[in-house]
């Protein structure tokens, strides 16, 4: 099964990077779920909770204040302004 390559970056560092099964992000139109082979997407984020279900290991959850997410060819880039510690 195809997997997502996820990069989670904030202004001054790369927060998390790896492969994931699914990503859930707070877009301005509502929480969006991203699975493998999602169509290309560029969405603006609102403050909310971000969840990355990693392919191995525990899921990554964090509060973000805003940013955007881009999906292209199973490459998910989450760009966030401010982010709380990962849980």
């Amino acid at each position: 099964m195809a997997e997502l390559n996820v990069d989670l970056v904030s202004t001054d560092r790369k927060v998390w990077s790896g492969t994931a099964v699914s990503v859930s992000a707070p877009s301005v139109d509502g929480q969006i779920g991203i699975l493998a082979n999602h169509s290309p997407l560029l969405a603006v984020l609102r403050p909310g909770t971000l969840t990355v279900t990693a392919a191995s290991g525990p899921a990554v959850t964090a509060e973000v204040t805003g940013g955007f997410v881009s999906v292209d060819d199973n490459l998910v880039t989450l760009v966030v302004d401010e982010i709380t510690a990962l849980r």
């Binding site: 560092r13 139109d29 290309p40 997407l41 969405a43 603006v44 955007f68």
Partner: protein
């Protein structure tokens, strides 16, 4: 007894030694901070890359004219903003001086083109330069230039964006230039002028790889809204990158300047030690000849 010149030399040696210690300490501090500054630059680059990729994706898939990417033809104001990024502290050789000089050159050029220059300064050295000469600064930030935070860059970027988007009669500007220093390597730092706004080139526009056609992007909520959210972030990340680059350059310049200063202090100490020895020898010689001539005078009496 003539010990006057000896005392003067000893004093000079002592004070030069004290200075040398300080130069050495500054050099070591700068050297230890460069690594950190460069690591920060590296840490910030994934964000910048992600933003650049997203901006170029939007640019490649849509044909929307955004206020940040278009020349202000209708609301032309004839004003150009210049942001000069210098350091907070001196002791960095010609670092601040060359940034300010480059800034002056740019201002001169913009004036020759008939534009009114709106000046912004970051770093105490640039602020001091302009306020001493009574030049009006529209914005000034002393933000801890050797370790800039993303909050500081946000503040600067927001002020500049506001000026760019403001209506003509409220002090809006047509363009924004940034004068800063580019960190090439430890020995070379180059001052450079970048026209930041309106945005023109987007580097690394994504080329269609194995796909024959561009993938069709979904924009949420709309291409305009995405661009609205992206471009200010892009500007912020560029400004942050400038500040980080300037910080690394400043530290490298300081390390080099302090290294030279330490060497010079060593040279001075050596010279003064020679002079002091010479003076001591002269004193002794003089004393001996005084004693001998005294004894001669007694013997012949």
């Amino acid at each position: 007894m003539a010990g006057g010149s000896q005392r003067v030399y000893k004093q000079r040696i002592k004070s030069t030694q004290a200075l040398k210690k300080m130069f050495r300490a500054q050099e070591l501090i700068a050297a230890s901070r460069i690594g950190k500054a460069r690591a920060r630059t590296a840490a910030a680059s994934p964000y910048a890359q992600a933003i650049t990729r997203a901006v170029s994706a939007v640019a490649a898939h849509t044909t929307i004219a955004h206020p940040l990417t278009t020349e202000r033809t209708k609301t032309h104001t004839g004003r150009a903003a210049v942001l000069v990024i210098s350091s907070d502290r001196g002791m960095a050789g010609a670092y601040s001086a060359s940034v300010v000089r480059e800034g002056e050159r740019l201002i001169e050029q913009l004036r020759a083109e008939g534009k009114e220059v709106v000046l912004y300064a970051a770093g105490r050295r640039a602020i001091a330069y302009y306020s001493f000469r009574g030049r009006e600064l529209t914005g000034q930030w002393s933000y801890g230039s050797d370790a800039p935070t993303s909050e500081a860059s946000e503040e600067i970027a927001d002020a500049l964006l506001e000026a760019f988007l403001a209506p003509a009669d409220e002090g809006g500007v047509d363009e924004l230039h940034v004068v800063s220093t580019q960190f090439v390597n430890m020995v070379t730092q180059r001052t450079r002028v970048v026209r930041m706004l309106p945005l023109e080139v987007v580097e690394g526009v994504t080329q269609p790889g194995e796909h024959e056609a561009f993938p069709l992007y979904d924009f949420e909520p709309s291409p305009e809204a995405v661009l609205d959210a992206l471009l200010p972030r892009y500007i912020r990340s560029r400004i942050f990158a400038f500040l980080l680059d300037a910080a690394a350059s400043e530290l490298a310049a300081r390390q080099r300047a302090m290294h030279t200063a330490t060497d010079n202090a060593e040279d001075l100490i050596r010279t003064y030690t020679r002079l002091a020895n010479q003076a001591r020898q002269a004193d002794i010689t003089q004393e001996i000849s005084e004693i001998v001539s005294g004894a001669d005078a007694l013997a012949s009496a």
